[in-house]
């Protein structure tokens, strides 16, 4: 990995981030001359024109919407540089604080989903590859047909119907005390795990199968290589051939998929969070959307994009550290 390549890649990432920020600045300004009228779209009954104007003027001053669009843009960029994503219209708090409050809860769901599906998926995929063509393999294939054609939110609804309402094994709605009274005690943590079980389960079904399929195909591709034949010919035990030789080499594509999933960690659970009333970024975003809270929506978008950008960058670097055949910018 050459230093020049790393620098080039980082500069490109910064450029993409700049474009994303610019987009997020201009999207709320589509179709309106005055961004303040997004906050107050119309005069309410009994309000005179002068009062309406006065309110809009107040909004402009309070949220930094005065001056020309270009001036606002410069201010926006400058604020962003200091980590200020603006102030929420409805909650009247800095956007970055609201995000920081919700981020851990989203990460609880998505990180546990990612880890569970990675571990179980790799195990299932290896088993299916080793028993290629037998019932385990066919079961995985059929499962992937179903989970691909069924949206995750539908699986979530079915799970919440049966496990949550009919059999009452897991909570169908998140207990909001879980968030307010969280104090790192054992009870609080187990409560979070209990409440998170259904959403994580709903998300994991699809991704376990997709990791399983990816692992299966990768393992099959690797196990046709000559060095596996050599390992078998040396008389190594089956387990050693699978875990020591095949799986190690077959996991490279899984790293790519893992990296791709890491970049969607905080943006990928919007609908699931909504179904289980989970107190995360997705519900924050949807509430902001229904309240037309543009600074909050755009702040979340910028944050999610920045997260994805950093994740992509790291995946690229990790990949080339893992795979000696890939020389990044090596020419």
């Amino acid at each position: 990995m050459k230093a020049s390549y790393v620098i080039k890649r980082i500069l490109l990432t910064l450029f993409i981030f700049f474009v994303v920020v610019t987009l997020c600045f201009f999207i709320p300004r589509i179709g309106v001359d005055d961004p303040a009228s997004r906050y107050y779209p119309a005069q309410t009954a009994g309000m005179t024109d002068a009062e309406y104007e006065a309110i809009k003027e107040l909004v402009r001053q309070q949220y930094g919407l005065d001056g020309s669009t270009f001036q606002q843009y410069i201010t926006y960029l400058g604020n962003l540089f200091t980590g200020d994503l603006g102030t929420s219209y409805t909650k009247n708090e800095p956007v970055i604080d609201l995000i920081a409050e919700r981020l851990p809860w989203t990460l609880v769901l998505s990180v546990s989903n990612l880890l569970i599906s990675l571990v179980i998926g790799v195990i299932i995929g290896t088993m299916a590859a080793w028993r290629r063509g037998r019932w385990q393999d066919r079961a995985l294939l059929n499962a992937s047909t179903f989970t691909t054609a069924l949206p995750a939110f539908f699986i979530a609804l079915i799970l919440s119907f049966y496990l949550g309402f009919e059999w009452e094994i897991f909570p169908a709605y998140t207990d909001q005390n879980m968030v307010a009274g969280f104090d790192w005690s054992w009870e609080a943590i187990s409560k979070v795990a209990y409440n998170a079980s259904l959403p994580v389960f709903a998300m994991a079904i699809g991704s376990i199968v997709s990791y399983g399929q990816a692992t299966r195909n990768s393992v099959i591709a690797v196990s046709e290589d000559d060095f596996i034949l050599t390992a078998k010919a040396k008389g190594l035990s089956n387990n050693k051939v699978i875990y020591g030789h095949t799986l190690r080499n077959a996991l490279l594509p899984i790293v790519t998929q893992f990296g791709m999933n890491v970049s969607t960690l905080i943006g990928g659970a919007v609908v699931i969070e909504q179904i289980f009333n989970w107190n995360g970024m997705g519900t924050l975003f949807l509430t902001a959307n229904s309240n037309n809270d543009y600074p909050l929506m755009m702040g979340i978008m910028i944050f999610m994009s920045a997260f994805a950008l950093v994740a992509n960058l790291l995946t690229d670097f990790v990949y080339c550290l893992l795979d000696p055949r890939v020389t990044l910018g090596g020419r």
Binding site: I27, I30, I158, M304
Partner: protein, 414 residues
């Protein structure tokens, strides 16, 4: 009269091609399943008013509200408004299929145009398009779509435009990498030497070569769009006046179908979504096997089975990239690396071609000399020869460049 005959001939030919296409699909076992389900859903969508026993928009049936399945109401009625769920299910086919198909077609057009332009023209066009792709791939799709529907409204047209505007990136990337291989093929080179314009080459030579990819991906994109549309309307952000399966699910959930144990009102729309997505997936996979016989059975399943589920369009195509990685040809998303893959092949293909071009150029020079000497040579031939002579140095230089690149790369790896 002659033109009429010509048009008729073309039309017949097109019909014949379409017929053969469907026959091939029908002969494929998986494709047949997909076609049958699709035809069934299409009939439901087209003749919905004739098939549906009740008017699904009728929200005034207070006496019948919340009824359980019976012969009168096959799937019961909705809890708050008393709409017949079976009729809603049939009408929901309309919005799902129409949005899926139309957006899929728009994406096919957009993605192929931009992908071909990026791959064939190269240079700044390529850079600009690929940077746009980079930006769109980074922004989370669903939140972006939600913001756009908030700003622009939630009519059908807006939803199709928004999905298309953010869904073309994956297809464009796949098409681009395909075009970068094709543009070094002999027939494209020959057309260039013969003086064909770049638009002509893109239209007549490059586009037909990627058409298989387009047909297949349209089916798969449509499937992805249907899932995304269901998600959007489940969040209450779809077209509020239309009946869609996602909205039915949302209504069932918010009106307490879970509490009352009305499993049919949750299961029915889900089966609808499953059938429509499943049929398109089947057709797409079958097409892939038919159009690309080299495709092994296992690997194409992987392409689709990843992610289509809990994510949105571009990841279908991102996973296609993964497949090529699994076969050992590494193509990272970064632009520097992406060129590393094709350039090898480019060098391989360009090397013998460079020699061929040299020959043509030599002939061209001879022709020009002969013309100068007063021998009879058709003007067009001279022009072509001159063109070839002008082109030849470039081709040579390109071959040399590519070869040098490969050498450098090999050196670097050592």
């Amino acid at each position: 009269m002659k033109t009429l005959k010509y048009i008729g001939c073309k039309l017949l030919r097109a019909l014949y091609a379409i017929g053969r296409f469907f026959k091939k699909l029908w002969m494929h076992k998986q494709g047949r399943i997909g076609l049958i389900i699709f035809a069934f859903l299409a009939i439901l969508a087209i003749f919905a008013p004739l098939i549906a026993p009740y008017d699904p928009y009728d929200v005034t049936q207070r006496a019948a509200k919340g009824s359980t399945p019976s012969w009168e109401h096959l799937l019961g009625t909705s809890i708050t408004t008393g709409q017949d769920i079976f009729s809603m299910l049939i009408y929901g086919t309309r919005s799902s299929l129409s949005i899926g198909l139309i957006t899929g077609l728009v994406i096919a057009v957009l993605g192929s145009l931009l992908g071909v332009a990026a791959g064939y023209l190269g240079g700044w066009v390529d850079t600009v398009i690929m940077r746009i792709v980079d930006v769109l791939l980074v922004i989370p799709t669903l939140p972006l779509v939600i913001v756009m529907t908030n700003v622009l409204g939630t009519s059908y047209v807006v939803i199709v435009i928004v999905f298309a505007a953010f869904g073309w990136t994956g297809l464009a990337r796949v098409v681009r990498s395909q075009v970068m291989l094709i543009k070094n093929a002999n027939y494209v080179k020959a057309a260039e030497i013969a003086g064909a314009s770049r638009w002509y080459i893109m239209w007549r030579h490059i586009l037909p070569a990627v058409s298989n990819l387009l047909i297949m991906s349209t089916a798969l994109t449509s499937a992805g769009i249907m899932v995304a549309e269901a998600g959007l309307s489940f969040l209450g952000l779809g077209n509020p006046t239309a009946i869609s399966w996602g909205k039915m699910l949302a209504d069932a959930q918010s009106s307490g179908a879970m509490l009352f144990g009305h499993w049919w009102s949750i299961l029915a729309p889900g089966v609808g979504i499953f059938l429509s997505v499943y049929s398109f997936m089947r057709i797409g996979l079958a097409l892939e096997e038919i159009l690309n016989p080299r495709m092994r059975k296992g690997s194409n399943m992987l392409k689709v089975f990843k992610h289509l589920n809990n994510t949105y369009l571009e990841e279908v195509f991102a996973s296609m990239d993964d497949v090529s990685k699994m076969k050992g040809e590494y193509q990272a998303p970064s632009p520097v690396l992406e060129e590393a893959g094709p350039s090898d092949i480019a060098a391989e293909m360009a090397a013998p071609e460079g020699a061929a071009v040299e020959e043509v150029a030599a002939a061209g020079v001879a022709g020009a000399q002969a013309a100068a000497a007063g021998a009879f040579v058709p003007a067009a031939q001279i022009a072509a020869a001159e063109q070839a002579a002008a082109e030849a140095p470039f081709a040579e230089a390109r071959a040399e460049d590519a070869a040098a690149e490969v050498n450098a790369e090999k050196g670097g790896e050592r």
